[in-house]
Point group: D2
Chain length 362, copies 4
């Protein structure tokens, strides 16, 4: 049991707070002989890095990863030894003063109140453990996970911000890296930016929906019931701060379908291999990957730190009105894209090792 | 690591297949000194029991639970000793012949194909491990979990079948037990029955959405990130067969809200205790219970076993057309209500013990 | 976390008490496609079965195993499907009356007192969960584990009873099955029987030391520090009731050796493969198997249930004198031989799957 | 599952190698509100620190701990928040050149060979993960564990080096800190130093036996079978490098005792509380603490790095003769004393939280 670990064979433990000295992760169970470079890890961290546009927090963090254990030099890069890989990212720009006036005030939508009830105290410095900064550790672990399953391609995109949704007919993966919203639909860029400009101006924040797609996942990963691949994916996604809903394939829409509409029929492809004629299942049947695209979605609530004054109480149970100053993401869902990808990378890598353990090599 | 266990301190392992001799669960970590009766366990099993209306499978299973360990007699009932509680339910009415002709045929929407890819074989007798029968073991464990947290009331209801949704203005918990759909809205009973009659006549099946509400959950259960109460709830719900989406509180709708709309403001109640002025969070903030109602929803896909002929392949990779005869739930989502309740009962009981372990008694 | 589970990938949970209806185990994570027969399981259970000589308890238990899940018929036997294998053994000859007079009395050397302190109650019927009967479940699981690693041969023997030790120069594995003590040294049979006759006559009991040897264990199982193969072996052995010491290879004698005496030198064999010139390490170096014989030993205390009157207290904290009547093993260490073998079989099977998961197939 | 974690509720994961940049641990599940100072952690690290006498390695490491997360300032010290506590110790004096000539040579008694077989490579720099340096992380975690169970006093001592044993009649805890061997018997100091001087002169090394005693452990910690307190203690001790045997209370001697000699009789003390009249059990009965002193012993093999030339092979399977130069502990068992204490502190803290979780507060 752990409160801060996920995965079983590819096992990730994270630690660190928003305003501590550093944050990091320990990846245990990583196969030996995996080659990678620090730049590869950094590549994904840079995607998640704050202050790259006006639509994310203005906190300036270089988010440079250091790899402290579990590797040997190999060519220009590194090779895993099978020992735990400890990765660390220092906090540079924490400015604790931003938060000092609200140490005993419960910010609506934040966990301040429940932390106090649960632990008898809370780390008031920028959200403490619940800060979005923690997700940097996930992204570092996810970058390593990708190297464990090198054929699998995992990509995410924002498919809705506030009431505005992308149009799947205009989905273009290349577009995702071209705009500050990770949107796959170029036509939404102006819509999203107008909406977020408006939200920011009123001191408010916006929610979002993210979709992550995993390609070339081999069939046979997962388990029928309690080690379901979809279960571990939704668990991983729900472990991210501010997520309130998760779904696979058709997701909630499945309720409206009838049996013959929902089931993905099968045929034999021209090369003799089985194919599915549709993918309502989102690549997972009975908890086990089918070999199709795995499709997962998750909804992120609007950032709780807003400038609009709200009613709340403080630690002395006095009624207060509170607005949250400081540097915040107006839509924290945007930077959740690389985080969602990372969680799915870790989950698939974990199940790849679990399947290899139970069943042997294909 | 386990493929068939959930929970950490209140830890449930289930075993058994649709057409084996029996199924059951082992509950480890249950506190000692919990008093209960076999009838209490049976009460919840009876709610899930098949063949109670024409809208569920006609398989006749008495689903009588036997309690084999971990208890001593206490008055008219039993008391837990702290040792693992093993509960077993025999399969009576399995009729394996119903399935013999499809042993090597992959039923669309079923896990037959992925089982074969994963394990090299599959239990073709009625879905094997993936049968909805397995959920009886969850319900038995959940009934015991309720006794660990006796003040907590956990109730579920079907809120949509196919395209038809209940109207929350007419929600009546008492109505749930009066109709065969676990619907809280009396006005939907005829709508649901008409729809399902129609679906059954065409040999098809229907999806559903279930909502489960937990009342009187103490504030402070859960953890900020990887042991989030909402994460473990969605993981538990997603571990149920046929679930494709799960959400907490506002769920996916949260994406459309702005910060001030989503955050639940706080005030001091007339008795001096903190209160929230709304519950968009569904009773969980930052992974930790707030003391409000916990609200979770999950979507169940239409039963994959249908009489309508569909295209598929067999284990020899020949193309076939297949219809699935036998006895099936036309809407397996209906009987998922007590199952969803059970998963949430187990999850809350587990977190209650975890919190008591880490923090001590309140 | 679990109080009643061992192993990670080959994961065994046991349940049941001495005087309940039954006891059993659930093996989760067993690879699919393992063929075995119920007779194979029964073979090992019969080795552990009580009442086969006057040196073990006279309780008559047929110890017939039933396999309730996780298998399909295959030829004359069974094949695992990858789902959890539930095995159950009914208690037939429990005679609870034997114990009724001591329900509130704490038997010296027994766990009665600490159970009451810990749980607030204890199962007074024959030792409850702490009964040696529980080990039947381990033996059943171990028999299945052997099939997962079919090349590995695991054999145990009693090497000391009371002050009498076997002479390793006369070690004969065939002898082990010919005498009621599992002794490998024919010359000790009379010595052990004389000693135990004497012990029984005075109403006392004897301790024992057991050695288990595993042959053909592939090199490379285990892990350097916290998943050490030797650590998991001693943990498994120490999980058996009444064990007070465990050691690997030279064990405690290692303290007396100097570096060059203890290290096992290496050379290249005539067939070009590495060989060790000695085996002080007991087949495990740095937590990892070397490919040599794995040698483990454990000490079992004398049975605590004796006819000799001893000073104790009862649940009301009154001083009493107590002798324990009923049927008991005068030397419970004897029947611990198949149990120790089973624990080591499970541990090696588990690490075989773990290594396959992390590293892939050799 | 993890290869580098121990404990369940008080859960410690360690990482780092002998010659990497740093090593450390993450403690998850630590209760909130625990106050401590960095000096307290450092106090125990200083006990284990190398180069404090000629009887330990001459590697100069300050072993200064940094605490990176999970705490807030509190007075002059720190207070835990309930979030994971990450502690890190930098490697300062690693001199990798010492080892460069033996990168492909297998040192007898070391894990080099099995690492290569297992992982396909090994970290040749000073033993890599298997270095005794790793134990610094355990000591840091153990120091925090002690604060979780502040009434419990845990002390260890060397009771044998090579063939020389202490005399229990002269046991003096105060003496332990006065000599470089952690010996409780002042009369052995000269004997140990003469013996080790001799061993060092011939370029060899010595084994040792360590005893750890825990006082004021409340009765009721542990579990009857698989979560036995003694099992977790021996598992923790065996997880330390170079340990080959572990025992509790009478340990292996128990085999020679008869029932009435081994069982600890009970009486009521003058204050009305239960007392035991002896402690053969070493403070643990049926896996559960009795409230008496917990007594554990473990044997450490002689350091494998010796100057005496031995026969071995290299990674190309050529026969070689090898002596291991560099800086090594001539008796690594000496510095194992604070390490053994730490493992037992962590184990007891873990079981204290587990018991509080399952049973509630006493």
């Amino acid at each position: 049991m752990s409160f801060n670990t996920f995965g079983h064979m590819f096992r990730v433990s994270t630690w660190g707070e928003s305003h501590g000295k550093a944050l990091g992760c320990v990846v245990d169970g990583c196969p030996p002989g995996i080659t990678f470079t620090k730049d590869e890890i950094q590549f994904y961290l840079d995607k998640r890095r704050p202050a790259q546009s006006k639509y994310t927090t203005q906190r300036r963090e270089p988010d440079q990863v250091k790899i402290l254990s579990g590797v040997l030099p190999e060519g220009d890069g590194l090779i895993t030894t099978g020992a735990p890989v400890s990765m660390i990212i220092e906090n540079i720009d924490q400015r604790s003063k931003d938060y000092s006036d609200i140490a005993r005030k419960y910010r609506p939508g934040h966990a301040d109140y429940v932390y106090d009830v649960k632990y008898g105290l809370h780390d008031y410095r920028g959200g403490g453990r619940s800060s979005a900064r923690e997700t940097a550790a996930r992204v570092a672990a996810g970058a390593l996970a990708r190297r464990v399953i090198p054929r699998v391609v995992i990509r995410g995109a924002v498919i809705a911000i506030g009431p505005h949704e992308i149009d799947r007919n205009y989905w273009d993966w290349d577009e995702v890296d071209r705009n500050p919203f990770f949107s796959p639909d170029a036509r939404t860029v102006k819509i999203f930016s107008d909406y977020l400009d408006d939200v920011r101006k009123k001191g408010s924040s916006a929610g979002a929906v993210i979709e992550v797609v995993a390609e070339h996942v081999p069939a046979g990963l997962g388990a029928p019931l309690y080690g379901k691949l979809d279960q571990d994916i939704v668990s991983g996604l729900m472990s991210i701060n501010a997520v309130k809903g998760v779904e696979i394939g058709e997701g909630f829409s499945v309720a409206k379908l009838q049996g013959e509409e929902n089931a993905d029929e099968m045929r034999i492809d021209t090369d003799g291999s089985p194919i599915f004629l549709s993918n309502h299942a989102g690549g997972i049947l009975g908890g086990i990957s089918t070999g199709q695209l795995i499709v997962a979605r998750f909804a992120i609530k609007p950032t709780s730190s807003i400038l609009i004054k709200q009613r709340s109480i403080d630690a002395d149970h006095r009624e207060i009105d509170i607005a949250t100053y400081g540097r915040h993401d107006p839509c924290v869902g945007i930077r959740a894209v690389p985080v969602g990808e990372a969680m799915i990378a870790c989950t698939i890598a974990d199940h790849f090792l679990r399947q290899r353990g139970q069943k042997g090599c294909a």
